[in-house]
């Protein structure tokens, strides 16, 4: 067994998500990340480190709410203005519910306003989903209660007709699988399942219909150079803003 093969086999589930996010972000110059989103932040940091090592374009990362990793100086409105100007290439959204047309629900379940379950609220989703070209939907929990046929409340619609819109969902990454999204067809396509999961399991755990190839490939393992960057420089960078998360990553690695 070669060293490379060893390295490639020994990755944690979270490392795969981080590496997948770095791949999904390929080509962006400025990515904004929520303050409490360590995995997306790690993916963005990994892309930045990898681009530097490959001599490719510089990647700027804005971590919202962070004092250190926030170069904005015009107040809370600046993220939204910046995105509206076309200066934010990628952003992450989640959702208590996400449906097959990529509508997301950050508000709650059951009839509004007296929802049975109430989540924090829409935040900036109803705006950013329209103006950021590459929105990556990210939700680790992959279950029929998250991925529903139709969200109870549309915080932000996945697609629009007859409305000025230059942004929207490009992919959905979960703890089990990776999907692409086609806004013209308003439909997800299963691209790959992560190590340990099966296409059948993904189908069973997804409450909406989607397309899938006859043979669903496995999500590519991070290559050795990528893992090296992630375990070295990126983990050190992460530790500055997400110390607990960096410890978790190190722990999982040791156990892997």
């Amino acid at each position: 067994m070669t060293v490379v093969a060893d390295t490639v086999r020994d990755y944690s589930a979270r490392e795969l998500l981080i590496a997948s996010i770095a791949d999904l972000l390929d080509g962006v110059r400025h990515v904004a990340v929520g303050a409490s989103s360590p995995i997306p932040a790690a993916g963005a940091m990994l892309l930045r480190a990898r681009n530097e090592s490959r001599g490719r374009e510089r990647v700027r990362i804005s971590i919202l709410g962070s004092q250190e990793h926030n170069f904005f100086t015009n107040g809370g409105v600046e993220l939204f203005d910046c995105a509206a100007q076309g200066r934010v290439d990628a952003f992450f959204l989640g959702g208590g519910q996400i449906d097959g047309e990529a509508n997301i629900n950050l508000v709650g379940t059951g009839p509004y306003p007296k929802t049975d379950v109430r989540w924090p609220g829409c935040f900036g989703s109803a705006f950013l989903y329209f103006v950021v070209p590459r929105v990556i939907l990210f939700r680790e929990e992959h279950s029929p209660r998250v991925f529903v046929d139709r969200v109870d409340y549309v915080s932000a619609p996945g697609t629009s007709e007859g409305v000025t819109r230059r942004g929207g969902p490009s992919a959905l990454l979960t703890g089990l699988a990776l999907f692409s999204f086609d806004p013209a067809r308003k439909r997800f396509t299963l691209k790959s399942v992560h190590r340990g999961a099966t296409a059948a399991e993904v189908r069973a755990q997804t409450g909406f219909d989607y397309d899938a190839p006859a043979e669903v490939p496995q999500t590519p393992a991070p290559d050795a150079a990528t893992l090296e960057l992630l375990r070295g420089r990126v983990t050190r960078e992460l530790a500055e803003t997400y110390p607990q998360f960096a410890d978790t990553l190190r722990g999982e690695r040791a156990a892997a």
């Binding site: 409490s36 709410g65 004092q67 904005f72 100086t73 015009n74 107040g75 809370g76 409105v77 939204f80 509206a84 950050l106 508000v107 709650g108 509004y112 306003p113 007296k114 929802t115 049975d116 109430r118 989540w119 924090p120 609220g121 829409c122 935040f123 900036g124 989703s125 109803a126 705006f127 950013l128 989903y129 329209f130 103006v131 409340y153 549309v154 915080s155 932000a156 619609p157 629009s160 007859g162 409305v163 000025t164 819109r165």
Partner: protein
């Protein structure tokens, strides 16, 4: 303009039925003033969160002071959902005006500029428009077939926040938290609690002036440099700081604890988690508020 007053005098400005704007946790939250408002019990407040809130909004709700909440989110962050908010939503205890962050900013900017509305992209297709009937869709007058949302101006009666320092002329350092400028200019009156009052004008130096809200927009300021509440509760930071820098100048301390203050000190996550746990029931909430107020009074 920019009068320096006691915390009670500041809190007394918040009266029943008023529309009050409060910032997100990263902007400086006037928690001691919140405790004082809780003691005053103004009713039917319309709380505008700029653009979200956490423990402060949840406490105002829990105390039954909120008639309307206009916000893009309510969350305690790592401590989870805001218990009194969630409970109130279920019971329909207040009018709920869900929003989206940039729409709150645009509404305040409209008031700042004295215009009745501002246009904003996006939103169309969101269920927000079903309940935010105060938001409209109009035709872009400059392009065919281009519907666009317009949101009305938000003019708060009061803007309330906490900042590191003010000078004795009433100017307040807001750094790069420029939504505080928008809030203050949009509001009829602005109330600010600060860590300290300095003698030299913050406008004196050209570089320092860049991060200052001028006294023209500030009505009342209450000072308190540390010393509040945290000693022995939730551990650490605030209590230590209070002990190291005893307050000598003016008695009532308006700390933002357990919320952090940019450039000064971090939040106290253990205390926020303790709040989250206690506030799961009305009784627990009442007990928390009692202790919270008592700690502030004792510190004063």
């Amino acid at each position: 303009m920019g009068d320096i007053v006691a915390l009670d005098a500041l809190a007394a400005e918040v009266k029943s039925g008023m529309k009050i704007a409060i910032p997100a946790d990263y902007c400086g939250v006037a928690m001691a003033a919140t405790a004082a408002i809780l003691a005053n019990r103004p009713r039917d407040l319309h709380v505008v969160c700029v653009p979200v809130t956490g423990m402060q909004g949840d406490m105002l709700i829990g105390a039954g002071l909120v008639g309307t909440i206009e916000t893009s989110a309510v969350t305690l962050g790592e401590a989870g959902g805001a218990p009194r908010f969630i409970d109130g939503v279920r019971r329909g205890a207040f009018r709920l005006m869900d929003a989206t962050c940039p729409a709150v900013h645009s509404g305040l900017i409209a008031a700042q500029k004295g215009v009745p509305f501002l246009p904003i992209r996006g939103i169309i297709g969101s269920d927000l428009l079903k309940t935010r009937t105060d938001w409209r869709i109009i035709d872009n007058p400059f392009a065919p077939d281009d519907p666009i949302v317009v949101v009305p101006a938000i003019q708060p009666d009061i803007a309330l926040f906490h900042a590191p320092e003010a000078d004795r002329f009433g100017n307040v350092r807001i750094g790069r938290r420029r939504e505080l400028v928008t809030m203050a200019q949009a509001a009829r009156a602005t109330l600010v609690t600060v860590e300290r009052i300095v003698e030299t004008s913050l406008l004196h130096d050209e570089n320092s002036a860049a991060g200052v809200l001028p006294a023209l927009y500030v009505d009342k300021i209450a000072e308190g440099a540390g010393g509040g509440g945290g000693g022995g509760v939730g551990g650490g930071f605030w209590g230590e700081r209070g002990a190291k820098t005893p307050h000598t100048r003016r008695p009532p301390p308006p700390p933002p604890w357990p919320i952090g203050l940019w450039g000064e000190y971090p939040a106290d996550p253990a205390e926020i988690a303790r709040y989250a746990a206690m506030a799961r029931t009305p009784e627990g909430f009442a007990a928390y508020v009692d202790g919270f107020s008592r700690r502030l009074t004792e510190a004063a």
